[in-house]
């Protein structure tokens, strides 16, 4: 399977993601420069974490005007699989490929820590290897991950089962205490209506080897690998 990892100026999880795909999971992986106009016939686009364009203006706000994003939007409209991690999630919302927006964390702190997530939807190409109710241990590292959308959009997300992950405690209980950044409904990851585009704030590429404390992130990459 061919993965393409998009590189923006300021991306800093691009190599981690590339390394997990190529060296840990032994897949074909390519970097896609944001100024290119070619997705190189890949099967899945990954928008990695980082601080594209220094996150000036707003997180992801300038990255959305990168030339390659035209191809990414077209790829999405044809049903291509796209995963946005952290800054990648922020970019997907700015692009309009996913609904909502990110506010600063409720405590105004940059949060860099392991969190636990409950799998809410196991029917997506990104989670079908898991089961609804599974709890994944994956780290977050962000300042603006406080998911927000107007009430009618939140309702739509819930009705269509577009919420894929929620911040939970280790037992899978979704409560205020587990909601580290203040996201509405503890939302940590969502898909678009069609289910082929997913954004998540936690970093699965940082939880793909036992040496790093957790391999739970592999579930996401392996689900993608087995859905093509």
């Amino acid at each position: 399977m061919k993965f393409g990892v998009v590189v923006f100026p300021g991306s800093n999880c691009d190599y981690d993601t590339f390394y997990v795909l190529r060296d840990v999971l032994e897949q074909e992986a390519f970097f896609l420069w944001h100024k290119d106009h070619d997705l190189k016939r890949i099967d899945c686009v990954i928008l990695p974490g980082g601080f594209s364009y220094g996150d000036y203006l707003r997180s992801g706000a300038i990255a959305k005007f990168s030339p390659l994003m035209k191809e990414v939007i077209e790829f999405a409209s044809k049903g291509g699989l796209i995963l946005g991690i952290c800054n990648g999630f922020q970019i997907l919302t700015e692009l309009g490929l996913l609904p909502g927006a990110m506010l600063r964390n409720k405590n105004l702190k940059f949060l860099c820590q392991f969190v636990t997530l409950r799998v809410e939807n196991d029917k997506t190409p990104f989670t079908h290897k898991g089961k609804r109710g599974n709890v994944l241990r994956i780290p977050i590292a962000h300042y603006e991950g406080n998911y927000f959308a107007p009430p009618e959009i939140i309702q739509e997300l819930e009705t269509n089962n577009q919420v894929v992950f929620r911040y939970s405690d280790a037992q899978g209980r979704v409560n205020e205490e587990a909601n580290v950044n203040g996201s509405l409904r503890n939302i940590a990851g969502i898909t678009n209506k069609q289910g082929n585009v997913m954004g998540m704030m936690p970093h699965p590429e940082r939880a793909s080897e036992a040496l790093l404390g957790s391999q739970d992130g592999r579930l996401i990459f392996q689900s993608i690998m087995e859905s093509i």
Binding site: L57, T93, E94, A101, L103, R104, N107, L108, F148, G182
Partner: protein, 82 residues
């Protein structure tokens, strides 16, 4: 010509930065302050454009780039006509 654009969170969106500033002001004894909203200011120097063009272009730029309409609102004014 100089245009000033003010971008801030919509009233329906919680503004934790504004809340923190408000709390700090309360700590200093300014308890009559009921709320604080924090925003961003952009000042754009423009070539000579007709008032109609400015009316059209500034909201366009604000909606497309400077503000995220899901969470933010904007207002603008011409601050220097020369």
């Amino acid at each position: 010509m100089r245009v000033r654009i003010l971008v801030s969170y919509k009233d329906s969106v919680l503004d934790p930065q504004g809340q923190t500033v408000k709390n700090a002001l309360h700590t200093l004894g300014y308890n009559f302050i009921e709320d604080v909203r924090q925003g961003k200011v952009f000042e754009l120097d423009l070539e000579e454009l007709s008032p109609e063009e400015v009316e059209k272009i500034i909201p366009e730029i604000s909606d497309k780039v400077l503000a995220n309409p899901i969470i933010e609102k904007f207002s603008w004014q011409v601050i220097d006509k020369s």
